[in-house]
């Protein structure tokens, strides 16, 4: 049997099932239109001259202009430094969480969730409030008149604080999976704790460390919000793409830069997924046989615990500064309480707030359902194109938002599909950017469920649609609703892609906040941010409550 025969063999089951077939085709087409096509547009645009002929000019410009090379260097250096520090701090937190007996562990979860539920540049804003020209520390406490936090140091610090939770979650997951009997075996053979750490624990999580390094690298390189707010003259690719395309109206130059950015991210993604991803020694599914006896040694607890406590505290302070800043008259100068920033927000109109909430709510169920459908197809069905669905839907996680935003305006600006300026284009970008997390959760939970249960339903007369709605979804409800909540939160806080897509008719909160930061109205930006965080917490709180009543637990990580 040739490969083609074999694939046709696999397709037999799909072809006799029209519902399944139509679903698969619909998913593939939508992924092509809303993920691959925009990327293709970005890649191609830079090769076309204004009159439509082929040219290498724009790509040559990218490499010829020293400015661009500097930006590329900035991006890579920043990515490297931030990933290094994030992974180290993440490891410290993960180790504390998995191995050491300390009391304030629940705080770690809060720290891990804060970057997800707040605007992507919240930390940068708070950092400016502390260390900026009118910063509380720099100006009010130390009396420095011209403190300059903008640039590499500020940006890198903020990004480390924003992204180390990613490393923490990856590594804590791994460390908790390590069966304690390995260490006991080593200890039994007379190894010291430090020796065990070096020779057992560390080798076991090395792939995980590489993994989180790459994941943070992808995030850092793609980070647009912080780079714009606190990057100053230290321009990164993600910011440069936007500035070039929207600031200088040089779309073609922008796309050439976007391609470069895309290459870096995709390369990291492929390395992460196919090289590092397959190297884990720690089985992902198996639960360790027993609970680990946590380390109670005061010296170790102090060495690991104190830095974790300090970092956690610092992050909490940063986040608290934002609501606080929204209630003071003039940050750094006059700390008298006031509601004037909220008054200003009201005077500007509630439209961005309502629009954002509405669009995020609208995209939420679509994202959730589509994510579960794709997870179902990936785990349960064999068909030609399955690999493509898996790769493409996951890939969109690695594509920097600025690239996708750019791709969307290029692809849907003229016939056959005109969407620019509509709500649809924003919802679509939410959908395809937020789906991968739901897919991953769905895949993980489906893999835990005996496929015979779905077969039993089909055997009893349920068609594919009925099986999916009456058995699959209820069985993976926790993943489904987690996906829903996550997608809502991410839609509320997204900026990098949607900043290209907002228009006079649809503006979004994050974009509004950024423009307030831009003009230096920190109080107003803080007020907007507070509103955003309140909406996010309120909606997720209500959802959690409702789902809790139904006995469903959601997990945001």
């Amino acid at each position: 049997m040739s490969i083609i025969d074999r694939q046709l063999e696999e397709m037999k089951k799909v072809i006799r099932d029209p519902i399944l077939l139509v679903t698969i085709i619909a998913v593939i087409i939508s992924l092509i239109i809303f993920t691959l096509w925009p990327i293709y547009e970005v890649l191609v645009e830079g090769f076309l001259a204004k009159d439509g002929t082929f040219t290498l000019k724009y790509y040559q410009d990218v490499f010829r202009q020293s400015e661009n090379m500097r930006v590329l260097g900035n991006t890579l250096l920043l990515g490297f430094v931030v990933s290094l520090f994030s992974t180290a701090i993440g490891f410290l937190f993960a180790y504390a969480d998995a191995f050491i007996k300390i009391r304030f562990k629940r705080l770690f979860n809060v720290i891990a969730i804060l970057p997800i539920v707040s605007p992507p540049f919240a930390l940068a804003m708070a950092f400016i409030m502390l260390f900026g020209q009118r910063g509380f520390v720099t100006y009010s406490l130390l009396g420095i008149k011209d403190a300059n936090i903008y640039g590499f140091a500020g940006l890198a610090t903020v990004q480390v604080l924003a992204f180390f939770p990613t490393a923490y979650l990856v590594l804590a997951g791994l460390l908790k999976q390590i069966d304690p009997s390995y260490e006991e075996a080593a200890r039994n053979m007379g190894a010291s704790r430090w020796h065990i750490f070096k020779t057992v624990i560390l080798p076991l999580v090395t792939p995980g460390i590489a993994n989180s390094f790459l994941l943070v690298f992808i995030q850092t390189v793609a980070d647009f919000g912080n780079a714009m707010v606190i990057g100053g003259n230290y321009t990164t690719l993600a910011a440069k793409v936007y500035l070039q395309a929207m600031g200088n109206y040089d779309i073609k130059g922008g796309t050439a830069l976007a391609t470069l950015l895309l290459m870096i991210s995709v390369l990291m993604f492929v390395v992460q997924k196919y090289w590092v991803g397959g190297r884990s020694y720690v089985t992902v599914t198996g639960k360790p046989s027993r609970q680990r006896e946590l380390i109670n040694d005061p010296i170790i607890s102090w060495i690991v615990g104190v830095p974790c406590a300090l970092i956690s505290l610092f992050i909490l302070v940063l986040y608290i500064l934002i609501p606080y800043g929204s209630f003071v008259n003039l940050w750094g100068i006059d700390f008298t309480p006031t509601l004037k920033h909220y008054g200003y927000v009201l005077s500007l109109g509630l439209k961005p707030i309502l629009d954002t909430t509405y669009l995020a709510l609208l995209s939420m169920p679509i994202t959730g359902i589509m994510g579960m459908v794709i997870a179902f197809l990936i785990v349960r069905k064999q068909f030609i194109g399955r690999g493509m669905i898996e790769f493409t839907s996951m890939l969109s996680m690695a594509i920097p938002g600025t690239v996708i935003g750019m791709g969307y305006i290029l692809a849907y600006n003229d016939e056959p599909l005109v969407l620019t300026g509509t709500a649809t284009i924003i919802v679509l970008s939410f959908l395809f950017r937020n789906m991968p997390v739901g897919i991953r959760a769905g895949v993980a939970s489906l893999q835990q469920i005996d496929p015979a249960i779905e077969e039993a339903a089909q055997d009893l007369g349920a068609n594919s649609f009925k099986v999916f709605t009456s058995v699959t979804i209820p069985l993976i409800s926790s993943a489904f609703f987690s996906g829903l909540v996550y997608s809502f939160v991410r839609s509320m806080t997204a900026i990098s892609a949607v900043i290209f897509l907002v228009s006079a008719s649809y503006n979004l909160l994050t974009v509004a906040i950024m423009s307030q930061v831009d003009v230096g109205r920190l109080g107003v930006a803080a007020a907007y941010s507070t509103v955003l965080i309140v909406i996010v917490l309120a909606v997720t709180g209500i959802l959690k409550l409702l789902l809790g009543r139904m006995g469903i637990k959601i997990n945001m990580q």
Partner: protein, 377 residues
């Protein structure tokens, strides 16, 4: 469990709740399934299998692990598509039908009860899809629970039931659909030994009462022998023999079947002469007249199958042997004997009433020629 027994024996017609069974035949013709393995290697799980199962028949697919039993069952249910060949349920070719369209119901090894539904909803699941009205559904579910001796458990979740109870719910959920064909994939393998013995007779009783065509997959020969009208013995994707339990035990079609079912002595022999009704073979340095349907010629090397319990051991007889091992097993004495350089296993029942031979003793065997069965070497 007791309740179930009573229901089956004492009440008027406890199975009246299932009154609409239209048992159908099942046929597969030249069925073949090749799996595309993960490393590009192909696995021929089922190799040109043809079978016919009559309406109302209890047919068991028996064979060692990995021989393709489950694959055949899943192709009949519709979960797998054949690489080649046809599947008929009744007179209808069902190759292109998805499982929900086929009139089969399956009892899964893992039971596959819906964990998010209670027992009532589990059993009612298929009935609701059939769009029966609510009172009919309630009647049927309660009736079948009654039959299974599980009334009062409607509101429980599957994980609040014991393994045996879950097993019966799985059977109830399949039966209540009144399918034309009932499929079982090792349904008893997760039960303890005692319950397994009990459930196999229960399943068989219900099956016979309602006369439903059943295809039952197992690798447990005791199950196969005790439940089936006919047994299909499979090995490495091919059918070795189809026959009644008696036939596959006493007239195994191949060395594999003889070896797989029970304990068999497989002895080297040579065809000496062909007569009209029987042939003369030389085995253990003795001549026997054996009847066979095989087409043989003088000089052929063959194998003789001889069951250990089909030999009499005593102080006098035709064939002298040396005892190499002798183990008292309670109900019988287990001997390992050497005859003419070949090893022979012999079982002697009720040993306390007989002479028991010790290791090293000389003894004699008497063999009834009707107990000798020839298979091709």
């Amino acid at each position: 469990m007791l309740a179930l027994k009573e229901k089956l024996t004492d009440r008027g017609d406890p199975l009246s709740i299932i009154n609409n069974i239209n048992s159908k035949s099942v046929a597969v013709k030249n069925l073949e399934k090749i799996y595309a393995g993960h490393n590009g290697k192909q696995v021929k799980a089922v190799d040109t299998v043809s079978l016919e199962i009559k309406p109302g028949e209890f047919m068991t697919l028996l064979g060692p692990s990995g021989c393709g039993k489950t694959t055949i069952l899943r192709m009949i249910a519709g979960f797998e598509t054949p690489t080649r060949g046809d599947i008929y349920i009744g007179s209808e070719r069902v190759n292109s039908q998805t499982p929900d369209k086929r009139d089969t119901a399956m009892v899964f090894q893992s039971y596959a009860l819906f964990p998010h539904l209670n027992i009532f909803e589990n059993i009612a699941y298929g009935l609701k899809i059939k769009k029966l009205n609510k009172t009919v559904i309630k009647e049927k579910v309660e009736g079948i629970l009654d039959l299974m001796g599980l009334n009062g458990m409607e509101g429980r979740a599957p994980n609040q039931l014991s393994g045996g109870q879950q097993q019966r719910i799985a059977l109830a959920r399949a039966l209540v659909m009144e399918p034309s064909v009932l499929l079982f994939d090792e349904p008893l393998s997760n039960l303890d030994a005692k319950l397994r013995v009990y459930m196999r007779s229960e399943i068989r009783k219900i099956q016979q009462k309602i006369g439903i065509t059943s295809i039952y997959v197992t690798h447990d020969q005791a199950e196969a022998m005790s439940m089936s009208d006919r047994v299909i013995v499979m090995n490495k994707g091919i059918v070795e023999q189809v026959g009644t339990p008696d036939e596959i035990y006493n007239k195994p079609a191949s060395r594999f079947v003889a070896d797989f079912i029970g304990v068999a002595n497989i002895l080297d022999a040579e065809v000496m002469a062909i007569a009209q009704k029987s042939i003369t073979v030389k085995c253990m340095d003795h001549l026997f007249d054996v009847s066979t349907t095989l087409n043989l010629q003088a000089g052929d090397q063959i194998k003789i199958i001889l069951r250990p319990e089909a030999v009499q051991i005593g102080e006098a007889g035709k064939i002298p042997v040396i005892v190499e091992e002798s183990v008292f097993m309670g109900a019988y004495q287990d001997y390992k004997l050497v005859v003419n350089g070949q090893i022979l296993m012999v079982i002697d029942y009720n040993p306390s009433q007989k002479t028991v031979f010790a290791v090293g003793d000389k003894a004699y065997l008497t063999i009834n020629e009707a107990n000798l069965h020839i298979v091709k070497g």
